[in-house]
Symmetry: D2
Subunit: 388 residues, 4 copies
Amino acid sequence: MTDLSAIEEQLNRLEIEVPSWAYGNSGTRFKVFATEGTPRTVEEKIADAAQVNRHTGLAPAVALHIPWDKHDDYAGLRQYAADLGVQIGTINSNTFQDDQYKFGSLTHHDPAVRRAAIDHHLECIEIMTATGSKDLKIWLADGTNYPGQQDMRQRQDSLTESLEEIYAALGDEQRMVLEYKFFEPAFYHTDVPDWGTSYAQVAALGDKAKVCLDTGHHAPGTNIEFIVMQLLRLGKLGSFDFNSRFYADDDLIVGAADPFQLFRIMVEVVRGGGLDEGSDLGLMLDQCHNIEEKVPGQIRSVLNVQEMTARALLLDQEALSAARQSNDVLAAHQIFMDAFYTDVRPALAAWRESRNLPADPMAAYLASGYQDTIRAERQGGQQASWGA
Amino acid sequence: MTDLSAIEEQLNRLEIEVPSWAYGNSGTRFKVFATEGTPRTVEEKIADAAQVNRHTGLAPAVALHIPWDKHDDYAGLRQYAADLGVQIGTINSNTFQDDQYKFGSLTHHDPAVRRAAIDHHLECIEIMTATGSKDLKIWLADGTNYPGQQDMRQRQDSLTESLEEIYAALGDEQRMVLEYKFFEPAFYHTDVPDWGTSYAQVAALGDKAKVCLDTGHHAPGTNIEFIVMQLLRLGKLGSFDFNSRFYADDDLIVGAADPFQLFRIMVEVVRGGGLDEGSDLGLMLDQCHNIEEKVPGQIRSVLNVQEMTARALLLDQEALSAARQSNDVLAAHQIFMDAFYTDVRPALAAWRESRNLPADPMAAYLASGYQDTIRAERQGGQQASWGA
Amino acid sequence: MTDLSAIEEQLNRLEIEVPSWAYGNSGTRFKVFATEGTPRTVEEKIADAAQVNRHTGLAPAVALHIPWDKHDDYAGLRQYAADLGVQIGTINSNTFQDDQYKFGSLTHHDPAVRRAAIDHHLECIEIMTATGSKDLKIWLADGTNYPGQQDMRQRQDSLTESLEEIYAALGDEQRMVLEYKFFEPAFYHTDVPDWGTSYAQVAALGDKAKVCLDTGHHAPGTNIEFIVMQLLRLGKLGSFDFNSRFYADDDLIVGAADPFQLFRIMVEVVRGGGLDEGSDLGLMLDQCHNIEEKVPGQIRSVLNVQEMTARALLLDQEALSAARQSNDVLAAHQIFMDAFYTDVRPALAAWRESRNLPADPMAAYLASGYQDTIRAERQGGQQASWGA
Amino acid sequence: MTDLSAIEEQLNRLEIEVPSWAYGNSGTRFKVFATEGTPRTVEEKIADAAQVNRHTGLAPAVALHIPWDKHDDYAGLRQYAADLGVQIGTINSNTFQDDQYKFGSLTHHDPAVRRAAIDHHLECIEIMTATGSKDLKIWLADGTNYPGQQDMRQRQDSLTESLEEIYAALGDEQRMVLEYKFFEPAFYHTDVPDWGTSYAQVAALGDKAKVCLDTGHHAPGTNIEFIVMQLLRLGKLGSFDFNSRFYADDDLIVGAADPFQLFRIMVEVVRGGGLDEGSDLGLMLDQCHNIEEKVPGQIRSVLNVQEMTARALLLDQEALSAARQSNDVLAAHQIFMDAFYTDVRPALAAWRESRNLPADPMAAYLASGYQDTIRAERQGGQQASWGA
C-alpha cells in the first residue's frame, strides 16, 4: 500500500466546495430528466451536500446560486448548514435567466440593463456578508450569436465599468472571481471567452479580483494546466470549477473524461503553491448529473480530485528535476507517469478509516439508506432545477 | 447585374423545406426566451411557414415533428397546408423526450424500450401516409455520457435490428433518412456519430434508406463538402439539415457563420447532380432562432441558400477544368473564388420580381404587418417549444 | 500484485509490430534533429528493432517503408531479420516524395501519374512476397490545399480504379489496408479523410482489403474506440497505427498523451475479438521520436500497449454487464475505471521475468550498452530519415 | 461599381509587409517541393518581393529572417531594396534550428543556452538599426512534447528574464513583438501558447513591447476578431502575421480558407483604429506557398487583404449602430453581411488604374515575363528554403 505519510500535510489541506445546483435536476436543451428525491428547497440541497462531506470528509462548503437559492433568512440558513457540518461557500450570481438580459447584462449597451445587473451583484455581496461567504463568482452568459450583432468593443468597456462598481462594494475579506467561457449559450462571441480577457479585466481591478477557471470552458486541445501554472504565477488564480468534458462544456464528473488531465492540473496546483499553507485558492465542483444519481455523483467527484491530488503529491520531484536538468525526455516523462499510475486507492481508504470515515464512501452512502429516505420523503413541491 | 439565364433551369428547381419547430420557441439549457406571436398549434406553425414561401417562392414544404405536431386529423392538416400553398414534408421522429428513453431508444438493451421506439416510428410512417409525406427522418439522441456506461457494440447491433423493422414498414414511395451527430445530448458516445456509421447502417437496409447530413453535426474542422461529394457518389445522400455553427451544434441561420462553406457545399451538390432533373435530394432547414425573430430568420435562411446556389451554378466549369488539368493551383482557386465573390443579389431580386415575388422579401415581410398581427392575435394558450 | 492468470492467454497473444522508420531521424517542418547512433541502413534499423523485442518479448515484426527500405536482396534481408529473432511485417508504400506526385498519386487526374503510383504498389507486393510480409499498407498524402483546386469526385473515382488494380495483384495470403487521415500534408481536403471513406473503398474491393486506423488521424474530439468497435463489427478493421497526440498528428509515444483513451481502445479491441485466437488484427506503432531516444522510445511504447491491454483484459465483464442491465451509470463507470486504475506494472514485471525477460526493459536496455555501441560504431554514412 | 470615395483615405493607408521566406521553398515534414526560379540569395528574395509591390502598390516592405537572410552589408542591402522601391521591414529572429535549441531557447533551464538565444536577439537588433527596420519579431518554437518533460513555470520565469534583457537593448524607435502559437513544433506545451501569455509578458516589459497575432496560431474555433478587438483596446496589438487555415497552422493564402473571417478581422482593425492616421499597427503576411507559385501567391494575398479591408470600410456604421441600439439581431447581421457581400473588385481595379497600377495584377504579373526570366536565370546555387 502506498505510503502517504510524506504528503499527508498537503493532502489533509484539500477541501472541495460543492455546488447547491448539482443536487437539482439538470439536462440539455433536449430534455431535463427528473429524478425521485430531488431537493425542492435550499435546505434540502444543503442536506444533500452535507452527505458528501459526511462520507468523504472533503467537502465542508456549499456554493449557492442566486436567485435559485434566495432565502428570507440567510443567518438561519448559515446556522442550518453549520448544524449539518458545512458552511456556505461561493455566491454565484445569475444574469442569464431574466428576459431583460436576453442581449447581455453587465456588458449591455443599455445603462438600465447594466444597472439591474450591477444591482443584482450588489445584492449577492450582501448575501455573502449575511452567510459568511468569501467569494463572489461572476459567470456571464453575455455574448452574441451573429457576426455584427453588437459592438464587442463597447461591451468590453461596459464590462470594465460594471465590474469596477461591483468591486468597490466588496468587503475587506471578500473576493470576486471572474469566470471565462469559450462559448455557450452565446454562439458567435462571448464577452469573457478566455483567461486572457478575464485576467486583463481583474488585473485592472485590484488584488481582490481573480480569475475562475472552469475546466470545461476551453477550446478543443487547450493545455489547461499551462493556464493553471500561468495564473498561479501571476497571482491571479482565484478558484476552479471542476468538471470534465469530451466535446464542449459537457459538465461531466471531474476526472471521468480524462483522468490524466486532472492529474496534470493537480501537479501544477501543487507546483504553484495551491495547497500550501495560507493558499486562498478555491477548488469547487461545477457539474451536471443529467443521467446519474446526484449525491453519489458528487461523492465520486470529490474522491476523484483527492485521488489525483495524492498522485500529484507523490511525484518524485527530486528525480524529476534531475531528469529535466539533463534533458532526459524519457526519464522525466516516466517519473511523471509513474506517479500517475500509482494506485492510491487502498492508501486513501486507510486515510479515511483513520479519520472515522468509511473506507468506501460510495458503498457507505448506498448502504446508509439516505437515497431511499429522500425518495420517499420528498413528495410534492417543485423540484429544484436550472429553471431554464 | 449578373446574368442568370444560363443557370435558371437549375435555380428554378431549388426548393427548401422548412421545419415546423423553427417557429416555436427554442433556446439553450440555460434559457429559452419566449417571444410574442409564437405559434400555439400546428396550424399556426404552418401558417408562419407559408409566409416564408409567400415572400420567397422557395419553401413549398413544411416538415413536422412527432409528437410535437401530433394531430387528430392529418388529412385536414394536409388540406390546411395546401390552402396556404405548402405541403407536408419530412416527418421527424422523436425519441428523446420520454422518460423511458433516458438511456436509449432504438439502441436500448431492453427489448421493451426498443419496441416502444420502433412503434413510434411505425406511427410516424402512418402519419407520412396520411399527410403525403415522403420522408421519415430519424435522428437519435441515443448515446452515453460515461466511458463504460453501456456496450456500444450491442447498441449498434440493436440499432440494425430496429431499423430493419422500421424499413420494412415503408411504402414504395417512402424513404427513411438516418441522421448522424457528433455529440449532444450524449457526451461520451453517440450511437450514430458520423456519416460512416449512418452509411453502413443504411447501406445494409436497401435503396429506400439514405443518410441525412446536418451541417452542424460534425467534429471541428471536418470538410463537409467532401462528405456531400462522397455520399452523392455512393448514391446515399438523402437530405440536408441546413444550419450553421461556430463551435458545436449551434443551429444558427444557414450561411451566417461561414458563407464560403455553404458555397462549397452547394458546388458539390451541383457537381453530384443534386439539382438535376429527377434528383430526390432533399434540402431542409434545421435551425433554432433563439434570439432573432423566427419568420424573418427563416426567410433570411432560404435566401442564403438560394444566393449560394446561384453562385455555385455560376462557377465557370470549363475554365476550372482547364486550370485543374494543368495543375494551376492559383488559377483554379481564383476561378472558384470569383464565383463566390459574385454579387448575385440584384439578379435574384429581379428573378423574384419576374415571378411576382417581392424584390426584398425581408422588407416585404416586415411591411406586410404579419408579425404585428400574430403578436396581437396569439394571446393565451401554450406557446410551442421543444418542451425539454 | 495483480493476478494475471485469468487473462494470460490473451495477454500472451499480444504482438506489436514496430516501424523501421522510427529508428531514423524525424522531426517537423521546422527542424529535424539528428542524433548519434542513428541507423544508416535497413539492416541497422532492423537491428535496433530487434532490441525492442529482445527486452520486451512483444515486438517480433518490423514494418518496412518503400522506397526508404529498398534492398537488393530481400531474401537475405528476411534471413538477417530472422537471425535477430524478428520477421518482416507490413510493407508501407510511399507516393508522397516524388516530384511527380506533387498533386496526387493514385487519385491524380493524369493517368500517367496514376500508372506510376500503381506500379509502385505492384512493386511493393513483390517485396511482400519476397520478404514474407502479409500486409500492404497504403497511406496517401493525396489531397489539395485550396478550395476548387481539383475535382474531389474525379479523384475518388480514380482512387477506386487504382485500388482495384492493386487489389487484383494481391496473393491469396496477402492483404491490403487503406489508411485514412484527417489532414496533413494536404490542408484543404485529403482523398481518404475518414474511416467512412476508407471503409466504402475497401468494402467495394473484397475480403482482402481492410481499413488501417492510425490513432492520430482524426478530427479533434473524435471517439476513436467507437470506430474500433464499428470496424471490428463490420469485419473491416485490418490494423492499427498506434501513437498519441494532443493536437494534430503529433505522432507521440502511444499512451503518452491520453492513457485512458488507449485503455478504452484496447477494451474495444478485446470486445471485438481482436485478441481472440485466429484474429488477423494487426497492431503496429507509427511514431516519431523527434526529441527522445528512439530505441527506448519504442520500448516504452510497446510496454504502454501491453499495460493497457492487461488493464482492459482485467475489466470485470460480469459485474459490468449487470450494472449496464440495470442502467446504473455510476456503477458501470466505476467498474470501468477500476480496471483502468489497476496498477499492473508489478505483475507485468513478473510476467516478463517468468519468460527470461528483464523486469524493467527500459533499465535493461540502458544497462546493455547497446546505445553506446551504436553511437560509437555508426560513424559516417547517411543517417536514415524521412528524406523530406 | 462601388463608390470608394468615402473610404479612400483609410484604404490608401493600407500597407502589407511581405516576408522574404515566402519566396523560398517551403513544405511539410513529408516533403518540400522545389520550384524553378526560386531565389538563392537575399537579393533575389527582395527582387521577388518588389514584384508584389510593383503590381499592387500595397507591399512596400520586406521582412527578413535571421539567420536565413544574414548579409555582410546591411546598408548595401537596404539600398538595394530602396532601389527596387521597397524597404526592409520586420526582423524575425530564429532560435529553432540550432542543435543547442533542441529543448528550448529563451526559456531553457540552462543559462548558457539562454545566453546564446539572447545574444542572437541582440544581433537582430543591430541588424534592425543597420537596415532601418523598426520591429523585432520573436516567435519561439520553445515547448515540450511530453507531460513532465520540463518545468513550465521555470520556463515562463526564464522567458521573462530573457525578454527583459532584449527589451533593454531596443532603441527609442524600435519595438519588440512577441508572437504566440497554440502548438507546433512542440506538441504538449508551447511556452507562449496564447494571447494571454504574450500579453502578460509584454505588459510587464513596457510600451515598446507588443503582441504579434498570427491568424493561424489559435485553437480550433477561436474567435480571432475578438482578440484583435481586445488587444487594440488594451493598446497592445503590435502586428499581424496574416495567413489562413483549415486545421492547424496551414499557412495558406490569407483569405483563402475563410474569407468571412478575414472580413470580420478587418472590421475590428478599423473599429480599433488600426487604419487611423498615426497607427503603428503592422500588417504582415506569413504564408507558405508549398504547391502554388510564390510571387503570384503573394500578389493574391495582398489583394485579398485589400479587398476585405475595402468591404470592412464600406460597412454602414450608422445603420449598424441603430440596429444594435434596438437589439435588432437580423437587421444588424444583414447590414454586416451586406458589406461582406459587396463586390469591390471592379472598384479596386479602377483604384489601381488611377495609380498607374495594372487593373489585374495577377494577369499583369503573368504577362510581365518575370516568372520566365527567373526560371531561366536562376540556375545553380542553393535554393532558399527553411533549411529544416
